[in-house]
Amino acid sequence: MAPAIEIERLEKRYPTTHALRGVSLEVKQGEFFGLLGPNGAGKTTLISILAGLARPTTGHAKVLGHDVVTDYRNARRKLGVVPQEIVFDPFFSVRETLRLQSGYFGLRANDAWIDELLASLHLTDKADANMRQLSGGMKRRVLVAQALVHRPPVIVLDEPTAGVDVELRQTLWQFIRELNRQGHTIVLTTHYLEEAETLCARIAMLKQGQVVALDSTKNLLSHFSEKYLKLTLANGALPEALLSRVSSVNGPQYTLLLHDYGEVEQVLAGLREARLTIQEMEVLQPDLEEAFMKIMRRPLA
């Protein structure tokens, strides 16, 4: 089975920037994959090359085994791209926009699927409205529908929730998750690391055009992010035996490092022995933001 996306030693030089410096990665069919990195790391360049909007300087990119340069027709038929910027053609209505987009892919009678897309994205009542009359969130949803008119097995979303309200974000994720459950491969770039953490099973992090981390979300969290126990003591100070765990102190509030959750028991036993009373207690979960910051601070190889 060909990988959904296969990227091999991809380089992209622009006249003044070196956007990608030898990126290699593979996304398997059916994955929900995250592509993270600060602005200017090369995420959008990578997506542009996959979509045929930019050409690689050297290296190869394939969508379901089809090279995006030499076999571009098949590669593009397999790929749906939701662009970062909200763009639209003011000459047309929502339905016209989707019919035209179907036509560009050589699909003539596509109305049943268009209706389904409109319904899933809550756009049915806007089908005949001109694109100009839609709110930003609705235009964003039309872009999602446009990316899906040809039922692509691989879907790339470039920061689809930037500047989008909570409700729309929820609708969008519900919809994308459903597509993933049906077997579509999803590649997502986002600056909202919480989103990536809950949605993506595997993540690649880019920095200055290089892959600096590529692993399952679970592994990234356990390798690069710690668990903490946050305690507020009602009486007295922390016993000496626990001081080695302290990561920060703020008055009677201590943040203790845990290597695993089983260590909570040891901490509680230590407190009991010292006859200390806990006023407040909270276990802090590892989060992707911490992992992200740590990975980004590491010097480049």
Partner: protein, 253 residues
Amino acid sequence: MNAGGFTTLLYKELLRFWKVSFQTIGAPVLTALLYLLVFSHVLAGRVEVFPGISYTVFLVPGLVMMSMLQNAFANSSSSLIQSKITGNIIFILLPPIAPWELFGAYLLASVIRGVVIGAGVYLIALVVAAVPVAKPLWLIAFGLLGTGILGNLGIVAGIWADKFDQLAAFQNFIIMPLTFLSGVFYSIHSLPPFWLALSHANPIFYLIDGFRYGFFGHADVDPRLGLAIASVSFLALSFAVLLMLQRGYKLRH
């Protein structure tokens, strides 16, 4: 081949100008009519360019062709620059549409808009002056080649320009002077030697002259020479445009 992609893009390009036909067809037809009324009023009776043909009648073919050429250029160039600036050009760059399908759709739409406007100007002009058609095949050949050449130039300009004012400069400083100084309003034989020589270097002159030959069976230069120059220009430009699209010049970075 993605025939559906080509026909959809052509349909979209036609729909684009048809939806605003008041300004894309109505306005140019009105402009041509105003030229005809004003120039024929001022010059009728004073000038007889071709023997036995009144100035008003002489003027009509040139005006028809000028409108066709300018609008063929406007169609592809404005569509492309608008799509580039608003960003919706990606809608046609993401699908599996080949460079030559893109080329064909934009070019054909330009030719069709040119022909529709040419027919409109001619029909309205009939109210003012009865203009015969002596050699319809020549007329059709020059009409198609002319709109094809300017449609191609429109694609080049639309892809090359990054801003509307660059496109306007292309239109105002290249296309406008070339069409105006191509013998639309006069026979170049009435010009002093220097300007006569210069007119022979203007490719659009051959288009106007050949087109006029289709109406009157009479031209300033041999229409076979004009047809050869027009055909070679059209083929060379088409080749250049295809090369631009193939390489993704300014479209695929």
